[in-house]
């Protein structure tokens, strides 16, 4: 089965400049040599803490920022090599739902205009009547009422705004949607509504999702496969339902142990971890996780481990992946 999206050795380095002449003094390796596939119809999760590069990754895949290195192939086409007009056309097939619903919509446009704009920008050859019909259809799909057309963003609740954003993403019937922390800014009860909506739509339209979040429990619930990122690198790719699996990378293990489960009968074992994520400006030469890893050895400090497939479909970047008897 050919993947819908293929990412090979993708990197993004931001130059750090100082001084009047803006001389380059260093490099911020936001995304560092990342490779993975996204298969049609699957929900793939990307989880990691701040600075791991997941948001930059999303923007690279959508070609909102150009990569420093590497290749991104969507539906067989290298998105960095095709011309501007073909890229524009390709944008119909991949969309993004951004993190903050409160600023995802232009505050000066009504919901109707924000949705209509999609068709206008992409110069979709539909009559005004057809566009109106489609807008009503989209609102219905996401659980908004026709009256909401005339509303402005500040008149809607967070959940309603996010529904409008999802409607916008669906307008052109994309095949692939990147969800960048779609529920981080929402209340827990509303989060559940949006997650269920996304699942429903995903099932109905055979949507491919890339779900980015810092919330491991949410990603584990929503996705079939999970990528764990740390400091711009992928450290593990595994199947979901993590509690039934054993994490291979020490960082994944720590992440899992740091998640508090709302069940007092299951007291979380507190992970022993020191320190914090190192600064992106100062990425260590060897394994990025070495300074916090309890299993680290000499080689971890010297050499950065490559992502290797230790079982079909399971990848880990570690010199000493965890094993279980």
């Amino acid at each position: 089965m050919t993947p819908l999206v293929e990412i090979r050795h993708l990197s993004k380095f931001f130059p750090v400049t100082s001084g009047l002449m803006h001389r380059k003094t260093g490099e911020l390796k936001a995304v560092n040599d990342v490779s993975f596939d996204i298969f049609r119809g699957e929900s793939l999760g990307v989880v990691g803490e701040s600075g791991c590069g997941k948001s930059t990754l999303a923007r690279l895949i959508l070609n909102l920022i150009p990569p420093s290195n590497g290749k991104i192939t969507f539906d067989g086409q290298d998105i960095n090599r095709i011309g501007k007009s073909r890229l524009r056309h390709l944008r119909r097939k991949m969309q993004m739902v951004f993190q903050d619903p409160h600023s995802s919509l232009d505050p000066r446009n009504s919901i109707y205009r924000s949705l209509e704009e999609v068709f206008k920008i992409q110069k979709v050859p539909l009559s005004q009547q057809q566009i109106n019909a489609r807008i009503l259809e989209l609102l219905g799909m996401v659980g908004l009422k026709p009256e909401h057309c005339r509303s402005y963003p500040h008149q809607l609740s967070g959940g309603q705004k996010q529904r409008a954003v999802i409607a916008r993403a669906l307008a052109l019937m994309p095949e692939f949607i990147i969800l960048d922390e779609p529920t981080a800014a929402l209340d827990v009860s509303v989060q559940a509504q949006i997650i269920l909506l996304l699942q429903q739509l995903g099932d109905k339209f055979r949507m491919t999702y890339l779900f980015i979040s810092h919330d491991l429990a949410l990603v584990d619930y929503f996705c079939q496969r999970i990528i764990v990122m740390y400091l711009g690198r992928i450290v593990e790719i595994t199947q979901a339902n993590l509690s039934q699996r054993q994490p291979r990378h020490p960082y994944t293990k720590i992440l899992m142990e740091s998640v508090y489960i709302a069940d007092p009968l299951k007291k979380t074992r507190v992970p022993h971890i020191e320190g914090e994520v190192p600064s992106l400006f100062n990425i260590p030469k060897g394994c990025a996780f070495e300074n916090r890893c309890v299993y680290a050895k000499e080689i971890c400090r010297l050499e950065s481990p490559n992502l290797s497939e230790i079982q079909p479909g399971e990848f880990v970047a570690c010199h000493f992946p965890l094993t279980y008897a």
Binding site: S50, V188, Q193, L242, V259, A262, D263, E276
Partner: protein, 327 residues
């Protein structure tokens, strides 16, 4: 020994379009050495509760229109501002949500801790500095001497939050209120900070009110929990009983709408509708529009607080003796 008792508290705020009442009839208590969780979503009134206890309402155009807050036998609502200043930071400390904005960016962090100390204790600068460094070290800050002289922007989020906690603990308070102290932090850092709270409050026998929307933290950290919805307390009780046998429909719904890592039952149930805004609170029971068990009776009558066994309280008509006759 009961440290703080909130009795039938009502809080109102003045706004451009008239007065609103974000807290109605709130009651709970906390003992010394106990960790009490205050859980709720936006608009539940949990932050307002913290502000009320700290006496910050007048600065926000708010006031307590009814009720009492008893601390060590004294009604805090009757205190004048000067007395309150002696209490704040000294006996009761507040740790706010965003460590980034709790620290003044133009002063060294150590100086900010010392500032708090000198306000509340007759202490020389040298001794204050020494005490600050001691507290910082006990909170796990490495190289405390060095960090003392650094500015907030030079520190990471986790370190900043530890500094804020140090500021709160320096003057040896009896009661600590933490308002979403880990929301802005990474999950691994959050785990460290939560552990810190646990150890510190146990070591010094401090009462801690942990305000959060994260049920996982409550489950792990707290002894008792107060569940709030739309300005009301809907359920109170020990964490074990509330989480395993939730009584109020909202508590039950809330527990089933969060994804839990490793739970056998992997289904999520959303709560329909939205959290009501403070101007449009429903009549009768404020939760009834979203409640699966609501009856017309619920819309017409405000529920009373009912005492159940196991020291649990719930605010729901279902638990009144007349429920059978009504439904």
């Amino acid at each position: 020994m009961t440290l703080l008792t909130v009795e039938n508290l009502n809080v109102s705020f003045k706004t451009r379009d008239g007065a609103v009442e974000p807290l109605s009839n709130i009651s709970f208590e906390i003992d010394a050495g106990e960790i009490l969780g205050l859980v709720g979503e936006t608009g539940s009134g949990k932050s307002v509760t913290a502000q009320a206890i700290m006496g910050l309402l007048p600065f926000l155009n708010g006031w307590a229109s009814a009720g009492r807050i008893l601390f060590n036998g004294q009604d805090l609502l009757a205190l004048c501002e000067t007395d309150y200043q002696r209490l704040r930071g000294n006996q009761i400390s507040l740790i706010s949500q965003n460590p980034m904005t709790s620290l003044d960016p133009v002063y060294k962090v150590g100086d900010q801790i010392v500032e708090g100390l000198k306000l509340h204790m007759a202490i020389t600068r040298t001794n204050a500095r020494k005490r600050a460094v001691d507290v910082m070290t006990s909170l796990g800050i490495p190289n405390a001497e060095k960090v003392f002289n650094q500015y907030p922007h030079q520190l990471s989020g986790g370190l900043k939050q530890r500094i804020v906690i140090a500021m709160g603990l320096c003057a040896d308070p009896r009661l600590l209120i933490a308002d979403e102290p880990t929301t802005a932090l990474d999950v691994t850092v959050q785990a460290q900070i939560i552990e810190l709270f646990k150890q510190t409050t146990q070591k010094h026998h401090i009462g801690l009110i942990m305000i959060t929307h994260d049920l996982g933290i409550i489950s792990h950290l707290c002894h008792r929990v107060v569940v709030m919805y739309a300005g009301n307390v809907v359920e109170t009780g020990r964490v074990e009983s509330v989480f395993t046998e939730p009584k109020h429909p909202y508590t039950r719904a809330l527990l089933s709408c969060i994804p839990k890592l490793g739970m056998a039952d992997r289904s999520l149930h959303a709560i329909p509708g939205n959290v009501p805004s403070v101007r449009t609170y429903p009549c009768g029971c404020r939760y009834h529009p979203r409640c699966a068990q609501a009856k017309p009776y619920c819309m017409e009558n405000i529920p009373e607080i009912i005492q159940l066994k196991n020291n649990t309280q719930v605010k729901c008509h279902q638990f009144t003796p007349q429920w059978g006759a009504v439904s």
